[in-house]
């Protein structure tokens, strides 16, 4: 088995550690490491562009946003009761999905159906217009409408956050009014 399989075990262990942690600050840090490790694995799987994005987004911006939210909410997760039903649901779902993937091609199989439809055509086309990075060609030219949609989604999400957080803060309880003095030192 290749090294990717071993790293997958490490990723799952990290995910379980995030599930187990009650200290949310530590969980956010582990989440950052999780993203960086998955970026490394994407590089091993030849997906350099995906790895690039995941390293910048997951380990960088996402973590900053989660930490920003933690500064505004609570650093500690309350200890809840252990629940059996979610665990059983997840194990059942996992078993069903693994049963469902048994017919799929093995890792790295060059004869798999996905590699013989439009992919060779995209690589050939990219070569013909002299743009070496096939991912850029597909992203901006072949699937230009798709990327236009994605950019609009990013814009809309930014607009949504602006509407939600850009206005004045309103607090529910009188004792909560004392809170701003405590939190104002975090960012300054």
């Amino acid at each position: 088995m290749p090294i990717e399989a071993l790293l997958f075990v490490l990723l799952v262990v990290l995910a379980l550690a995030i599930a187990h942690m009650r200290d949310l600050f530590a969980a956010a840090m582990l989440f950052s490491i999780f993203s960086l490790l998955s970026a490394g694995m994407f590089t091993l799987m030849d997906a350099v562009d995906v790895a690039f994005t995941e390293a910048a987004v997951g380990a960088g911006i996402s973590t900053v946003l989660i930490l920003g939210t933690l500064a505004l909410t609570s650093n500690e997760e309350r200890n809840g009761p252990f629940r059996l039903t979610p665990l059983l649901v997840c194990l059942g779902l996992g078993a069903t999905l693994i049963y469902g993937t048994r017919d799929l091609p093995v890792y790295g199989d060059p004869g798999a159906v996905v590699h013989h439809h439009v992919a060779p055509e995209y690589i050939e086309g990219s070569h013909n217009i002299h743009i070496p990075n096939v991912v850029t060609t597909v992203l901006a030219s072949y699937r230009g409408y798709d990327t236009f949609g994605e950019t609009t989604v990013v814009f809309t999400a930014g607009l949504g956050v602006l509407l939600l957080l850009g206005g004045a803060a309103r607090r529910r309880d009188p004792e909560e009014e004392a809170a701003p003095q405590a939190t104002s030192e975090v960012t300054s």
Partner: protein, 143 residues
């Protein structure tokens, strides 16, 4: 995240950030314009440029960062990025092609020009959105 020392007083962080920010921005531009030839493109470049502004804001404070990149620029930049992308499509339509059919832009290098224009739009939109997200979360914390 209680701090005993203000972030502005930490000399190593200040110097390190001052040293790193220009290089991060330069790298972002490299990723943006070298995206045709190597790994990279508008999405990655946008996030890296935003990371430079976020680092600057974290170390030197939100007010200083907002003097460098005001919030109103970012709000406009978000829309401008999407408009550059859509505008490229409209331009190809005006030149007689379909929406986003780059071949009509230039008889030989149309695809190149189209892809650079579109990636520039993506880069502007993503940079502005990500930096604005950081500003909004950080501003909320000081109220």
């Amino acid at each position: 995240m209680k701090q005993h020392m203000r972030m502005q007083d930490k000399i190593i962080l200040r110097l390190g950030a001052k040293f790193l920010v220009p290089f991060i921005l330069l790298f972002a531009f490299y990723v943006q314009f070298h995206g045709d030839f190597g790994p990279g493109g508008g999405f990655q470049a946008g996030v890296i440029a935003a990371a430079a502004f976020v680092l600057y804001g974290l170390i030197f404070g939100l007010d200083t960062a907002q003097k460098v990149v005001p919030k109103s620029w970012l709000e406009k930049g978000m829309a401008i990025g999407v408009l550059v992308y859509g505008g490229t499509g409209v331009a190809t339509m005006l030149l007689g092609g379909n929406f986003l059919e780059y071949d009509v832009l230039h008889h030989h290098n149309g695809q190149h020009y189209g892809i650079i224009a579109v990636e520039a739009g993506v880069g502007i939109a993503v940079t502005c959105t990500m930096t604005l997200l950081y500003y909004l979360f950080a501003e909320r914390g000081r109220r």
